[in-house]
């Protein structure tokens, strides 16, 4: 409090001093003239030097990493918020890993949004500098983008026998990392519709969400392009896994129409939870695990599978270039692919568990969750689930721009 008062007084003093008498010593005009010349002299060459930037693509040759895991038993893990089991202030599965391996883990929840995180680390990774993290967790499309840029280290399968034997078949070969050379799924999840039953009746499809007049101005969509556009493409009758530029334009036009009609109140990241809870938004596009977690506090929140289909995605653990503890990271990935550990984690986060055998292990952890389709979905449940088409860097930028333009009318 005292320092603030001091600061305030200093501000007041400074402003007092800055009256008409401030021009002494070096005249203002003179100073400005000098500064201008200085700026020009310095600015011109750096302007030339700043002409263009090189490609930011890295590779094993241009950006090799060393592994200090043998001597340093530490690991820095960056993950999304509320994405690990917590008991009070402790994290049981993570502590289990620390005891078992002797590796000290620093667990950060500093991934809030794929784009935002990308913005935070892109300059270092592009210049082959360490980002101070050994594991980062990115959604499929962002993982694809980072791997495509050559920013991730190849993982050693020999260090991860559990991953090799327990990774679910349907997750083993995504198009962007066919042999899972660079990535290991942390959790998968679904995007659908959530609504607050205190304020509205059931909303069963995106069609309803976007056109029902009683929802006007009380609907939010996700600012995650892949999720929201997937549903727009489905409404267009296109296949989100394989669509044309024309279909994309039509889907963008459709979204533009919904924004223009005033149906959509906001585009959000994870923060839709607050609005939905408070009833500012009564129905929205939502992630499955979030909603289930919310239901513990507010039973009025419901999650539904939209009639049009579902968006299915995974978040993937990866080791960035210049991270010093790759073997430690691999040990952690392997640890989480033990069925019992995976079941404990899934029981808390409520997302789809990528580990084979976890469903059986769940019998011991929490029998009520064994048949939970949102953690262990059946094939039938997922028959309407889609991923988003893989895009090359140029197309992605163009699509991202289209999307950004619409959500910011």
């Amino acid at each position: 409090m005292d320092t603030d008062r001091m600061r305030m007084q200093m501000l007041a003093e400074a402003l007092r001093a800055g009256g008409p008498r401030a021009g002494r010593g070096i005249g203002r005009r003179n100073f400005l003239r000098g500064a201008g010349v200085g700026a020009l002299a310095l600015g011109a060459p750096s302007l030339l030097a700043a002409c263009g930037t090189q490609s930011q693509v890295q590779s094993e040759e241009t950006c090799g990493s060393t592994d200090l895991s043998d001597t340093e038993k530490t690991l820095i893990f960056s993950n999304w918020p509320e994405y690990i089991d917590v008991k009070g202030k402790r994290m049981p599965t993570l502590e289990g890993f620390e005891t078992e391996s002797g590796i000290t883990v620093t667990y950060n929840t500093d991934v809030n949004d794929n784009n935002e995180f990308f913005g935070k680390v892109k300059d270092q990774l592009g210049a082959c500098e360490p980002i101070g993290r050994d594991i980062i967790t990115m959604t499929d499309w962002m993982a694809a983008r980072m791997i495509g840029l050559g920013w991730m280290q190849e993982l050693d399968k020999d260090n991860m026998p559990n991953v090799v034997s327990n990774l679910k078949t349907d997750l083993q070969s995504p198009t962007w990392d066919p042999d899972r050379t660079y990535s290991v799924p942390w959790q998968s999840g679904l995007t659908g519709i959530a609504y607050n039953a205190k304020y509205t009746g059931e909303v069963s499809s995106f069609e309803e969400l976007m056109t029902r007049t009683d929802l006007k101005g009380k609907v939010s969509l996700l600012s995650e392009m892949g999720d929201t556009m997937l549903f727009m493409l489905l409404l267009e009758g296109a296949n989100p896994e394989d669509f044309t530029d024309e279909q994309w334009s039509a889907a963008i036009g459709r979204l533009e129409g919904y924004v223009g009609s005033g149906q959509i109140r906001r585009f959000t990241g994870n923060d839709y939870i607050r609005d939905l809870n408070a009833g500012n938004v009564v129905a929205c596009e939502a992630w499955s695990g979030d909603v289930i977690a919310m239901q513990y506090d507010n039973p009025d929140i419901k999650w539904v599978v939209p009639e049009e289909g579902l968006s299915l995605w995974s978040d993937n653990m990866m080791v960035p270039n210049k991270a010093d503890h790759k073997a430690n990271a691999e040990a952690l990935m392997d640890y989480y692919y033990q069925p019992e550990v995976a079941a404990t984690l899934a029981a808390w986060v409520n997302y789809i568990c990528p580990v084979e055998g976890a469903q059986e292990a769940m019998e011991k952890v929490d029998p009520s969750l064994v048949d939970n389709e949102l953690i262990f979905p059946s094939e039938d449940f997922l028959k309407n689930a889609y991923g988003f088409m893989e895009l090359d860097e140029t197309t992605r930028q163009a699509y991202d721009k289209d999307f950004a333009q619409v959500i910011g009318a």
């Binding site: 305030m8 008498r21 010593g25 310095l42 750096s46 263009g52 490609s55 860097e393 140029t394 992605r396």
Partner: protein, 300 residues
């Protein structure tokens, strides 16, 4: 300090009279830390920003960005984001006016009528700053929420229709801007008002000026430096702000800050940079006109 030196018009001549005859390098030496700071944190980033705004917009992280002197980025930015640019300036002007309407009486009351509570009142003005900007804005989400007291009351009074809301409207965004920048107006204004010599007001009333005339002819002109500084400190950050629009607005209240952020995230650095340069130029231009009009060039 004599009162005369603060009178308008007295300053310029005083400065040249007092100026030392011989000028050494000492002044420049003393300025060098500040100058260096300016070069590193202002000149270099600005040059980079301007350079980036002229890159080929078809570049990407994979291909790199080539410098092609692509001036068209600027016209594209204006065509695509003109509405948001205008909206930002408009919101910032409204918020600044609202700040003046609320802040002037407040600063005046503290300076002239605060008495021994002066410091306490000033602390009350900056007390919200003990909490982070983000948290304060988030609490407006709660206050203006559709099912909270304010909206319920306004609906009951039929100021709002049964489905009317405040959150996610331009009103909420401007309220947030006004609230967040009010102290930036009050503090410099208070500093100006506080040093107004009360004897000048006594003299005015001895010369048969009504309290209102005394205010108009003495207090107001003497508080101009504070008022101008305060309005600048409010207007400039408000025009570039994006948190308030992000948290309290809807897709049709987006400001230029939101667009710049999204363009950077989408990897369109050239357009994002040209939009930033346009915003900067627009603000500099408006501020220059304003300061010239207000006749307080000495301040900046």
């Amino acid at each position: 300090m004599s009162a005369a030196s603060h009178l308008p018009g007295g300053g310029a001549s005083a400065a040249s009279d007092d100026a030392p005859r011989k000028r050494g390098l000492g002044g420049y030496l003393l300025l060098s830390p500040g100058g260096l700071w300016l070069v590193v944190f202002f000149v270099v980033p600005t040059v980079t920003l301007v350079a980036t705004s002229l890159y080929d917009p078809s570049g990407s992280l994979q291909l790199g960005y080539a410098m092609t002197w692509h001036w068209q980025n600027y016209t594209d930015a204006v065509v695509d984001y003109g509405p948001q640019l205008l909206r930002s300036l408009q919101y910032a002007v409204i918020a600044t006016i609202a700040c003046v309407l609320m802040g002037y009486p407040l600063a005046y009351a503290i300076a002239f009528k605060g008495g021994r509570f002066k410091n306490l009142m000033l602390v009350a003005v900056i007390a919200p700053f003990f909490t982070s900007f983000l948290v304060r804005t988030l609490s407006w989400q709660y206050i203006l929420g559709d099912n909270e007291a304010v909206v319920s009351l306004l609906r009951w009074l039929h100021v709002l229709g049964p489905e009317g809301h405040l959150l996610a409207t331009p009103f909420a965004v401007i309220t947030g801007l006004t609230y967040n920048f009010l102290p930036f107006l009050v503090l410099p204004l208070y500093a100006s008002l506080e040093k107004v010599d009360r004897r000048l007001l006594e003299a005015a009333s001895d010369l048969y000026a009504s309290p209102f005339t005394a205010f108009r002819k003495v207090t107001l002109p003497l508080s101009m430096p504070g008022l101008v500084a305060g309005t600048l400190l409010t207007f400039i950050p408000a025009a570039g702000d994006y948190i308030n629009s992000e948290l309290l607005g809807n897709p049709t209240t987006r400001m230029v800050g939101n667009e710049i952020q999204d363009l950077f995230a989408a990897g369109d650095y050239p357009t994002a940079s040209s939009l930033s340069v346009i915003l900067m130029a627009a603000i500099v231009l408006l501020v220059a006109i304003y300061v010239r009009r207000a006749g307080t060039e000495e301040l900046v």
